[in-house]
């Protein structure tokens, strides 16, 4: 009986540690894959491009930007770009000026209306 309980304990411990290790491996592999594919750099470029475009635009401008597979949000004067995958890394960039904006998301486009 004692031996059986010991085996069960080992099994539980093994399953938990194996799951944790697999999760950790998955996170690391996902990060390496994203880095090697240049996805993080693309995110950074998109965030900076949007921020600079919004800053340079006059009031009343409407910007249509191809965002690809990324999710774009602008809040508190920060442009935030993240990927739609499970292990997503955020790229943020601050706007230079205080703008009043409205964002509409379409399939792979984002429309930014600059009011002020």
């Amino acid at each position: 009986m004692k031996g059986k309980r010991g085996t069960m304990g080992h099994l539980q411990w093994f399953i938990i540690s194996a799951i944790l290790l697999l999760l950790f491996f998955y996170a690391v592999l996902a990060f390496i894959n994203k880095s090697a594919a240049g996805e993080i750099t693309k995110q950074q470029v998109l965030a900076k491009q949007i921020a600079l475009l919004v800053d340079a635009s006059e009031s009343g401008t409407e910007l249509t930007i191809e965002k690809g597979n990324f999710t774009v949000s602008i809040s508190k004067n920060k442009v935030d770009v993240s990927s739609k995958s499970l292990m997503s890394i955020h790229s943020t960039y601050e706007l230079l000026s205080e703008r009043e904006l409205e964002i509409q998301e379409q399939q792979n486009k984002i429309i930014i209306k600059i009011f002020k």
Partner: protein, 176 residues
């Protein structure tokens, strides 16, 4: 004094005993007890080592593949044009007594930027003044040297007198 010596000796003895036990366990490939369950010592070694190895791989990958896109030259141009537009309307100089960055619609982190406006010998500054010194340094290579822009604008005052507006904008925004 004697008591503290005794206490220290006892503490050392306990520590030595623990390390001896640990070494014995590793040598004999025995198991450690955690939460009342027996776990092989190799598990512990594996669990401690693997995260370190993976963290190393992540750091190397990040250092090798990450690139910082430098847009500071565009930023300083934007800031300069926004300030100039705020101070002048159609080339006519506006009231500059109550000049502020908020009034010009700018929302800048003053730890990362420096702006100096000189008009008729008067100078107004915003941000870290140290960047002005760094901007004037020539022939020095630095990792965090700010990007600087000196701009001169020609403006007309209300009494048709012409003046020059000198702007210095420096930024280190977006540096890793």
């Amino acid at each position: 004094m004697k008591m503290s010596k005794l206490f220290l000796r006892r503490k050392l003895w306990k520590r030595n005993k623990a390390s001896r036990k640990m070494k014995e366990l590793i040598k004999n490939k025995k198991a450690l007890s955690l939460l009342g369950q027996k776990i092989p010592i190799s598990f512990f070694i594996l669990l401690i080592l693997i995260p370190f190895i993976l963290a190393g791989i992540v750091l190397i990958t990040y250092a090798f593949y990450s690139h910082n896109i430098d847009v500071r030259q565009i930023e300083v141009n934007l800031i300069a044009s926004k300030i100039a537009n705020c101070m002048m309307k159609d080339g006519m100089l506006q009231d500059t007594d109550l000049l502020s960055l908020e009034k010009c619609g700018l929302n800048l982190n003053l730890d990362e930027n420096y702006i100096n406006i000189t008009l008729e010998g008067k100078s107004i500054s915003f941000g870290k003044e140290a960047y002005e010194v760094l901007c004037k340094l020539k022939g020095v290579t630095m990792q965090y040297k700010p990007t600087c822009l000196w701009q001169k604008y020609y403006a007309v005052k209300e009494n048709s007198e012409s003046v020059y507006l000198d702007l210095l904008v420096a930024t280190i925004k977006g540096m890793p």
